[in-house]
């Protein structure tokens, strides 16, 4: 497909992108798991950047209590399927982008079948169970994972690249928490989710362009102090996923 030079003019002029990089973005396939507070801004910036194929996986419907942070949706969308509304909005936002939706719950059984169609998966889910599932399925399919999370005024972000044998989410959280923790348990501020979701899109874009990304590292954003910390994460020798 011919690149729309006018639409992407302001990023084509970035030395690390140019027409060649823009073509890479158009050829890329990115899956976003969770179209909520993190996934919404990630999806918008992926579409804006001209990622050619975007998948979005979410089985939830829009609730009123989502609207403090889930900026893809508005009051009129309440009780509608997130995947359907997100697809409609993204395709209007950038008609160059092909959007595929998966409105069923992600499971051990369907994850590998879905993931095999993508280069990168953005983990924007709200519970530990899904994070472990995404991490394992992405390693099985050898696709890069951009994992993000938020809690109150703090955000956290890391990238795992199976093809480069990097550390993974399970190196950070080797033991699954015994009780189920979700964003329903913790407070989330929309602007913090927006910051981390945008950074997840940025990490995916940088990975596709072959630029530096947060491999073997964790970035922690403190929205109160306005600070970022970056910590190195060693690969665990006994990690059952990325060993």
């Amino acid at each position: 497909m011919q690149i729309d030079l006018e639409r992407y003019k302001r990023q084509l002029s970035i030395k690390a992108i140019g027409k060649h990089g823009q073509q890479k973005l158009f050829n890329a396939k990115v899956l976003v798991c969770g179209a909520g507070g993190l996934g919404g801004p990630a999806l918008i910036y992926l579409a804006a950047a001209g990622i050619g194929s975007i998948g979005l996986c979410d089985f939830d419907v829009i609730e009123q209590s989502n609207l403090n942070r889930q900026i893809l949706y508005n009051h009129a969308d309440i009780r509608k399927q997130k995947a359907y509304i997100a697809k409609e909005k993204l395709e209007k936002f950038n008609p160059d982008v092909k959007v595929e939706t998966y409105s069923e719950k992600l499971t051990e059984e369907n994850a590998s079948d879905i993931f095999k169609n993508y280069d990168v998966v953005i983990d924007a889910v709200d519970n530990f169970q899904s994070r472990y599932l995404i991490n394992a399925a992405a390693y099985r399919s050898s696709i890069t994972i951009v994992c993000g999370a938020v809690c109150e005024f703090e955000g956290i972000l890391t990238v795992a690249v199976p093809k480069e044998n990097t550390s993974c989410f399970q190196c950070i959280y080797p033991i699954k928490p015994s009780s189920e923790l979700t964003s329903k348990t913790f407070g989330i501020l929309g602007a913090i989710a927006g910051t981390i979701g945008s950074m997840q899109a940025l990490e995916a874009i940088k990975f596709i362009l072959g630029l530096h990304c947060l491999k073997n590292k964790v970035l922690i954003f403190n929205g109160i102090e306005n600070t970022y910390r970056i910590r190195s994460i060693s690969k665990r020798k006994d990690c059952p996923i990325c060993k």
Binding site: G148, P174, R229
Partner: protein, 67 residues
């Protein structure tokens, strides 16, 4: 008093303390977080055994919310 670095900030603690007690004193439920002590992730079963000492660093990582 001992000097330690918690989440990138210099802090003074009254005395050496194990990580489980440190988290408890700061109202952090250990199941919500993973902790990195001197650049090593500490397994949950060891958080009562690992002691914060002079010059140590502790990072508390919380990969929870998203939606």
């Amino acid at each position: 008093m001992i000097d330690v670095k918690i989440n990138g900030e210099n802090k003074k603690l009254e005395d050496k303390i194990n990580i489980a007690d440190f988290l408890k004193n700061n109202n952090i439920d250990p199941i919500e977080v993973t902790v990195e002590h001197n650049s090593e992730i500490v397994n949950q079963e060891n958080i009562t055994k690992v002691i914060l000492e002079e010059g140590d660093t502790l990072e508390i990582l919380r990969f929870v919310g998203g939606g």
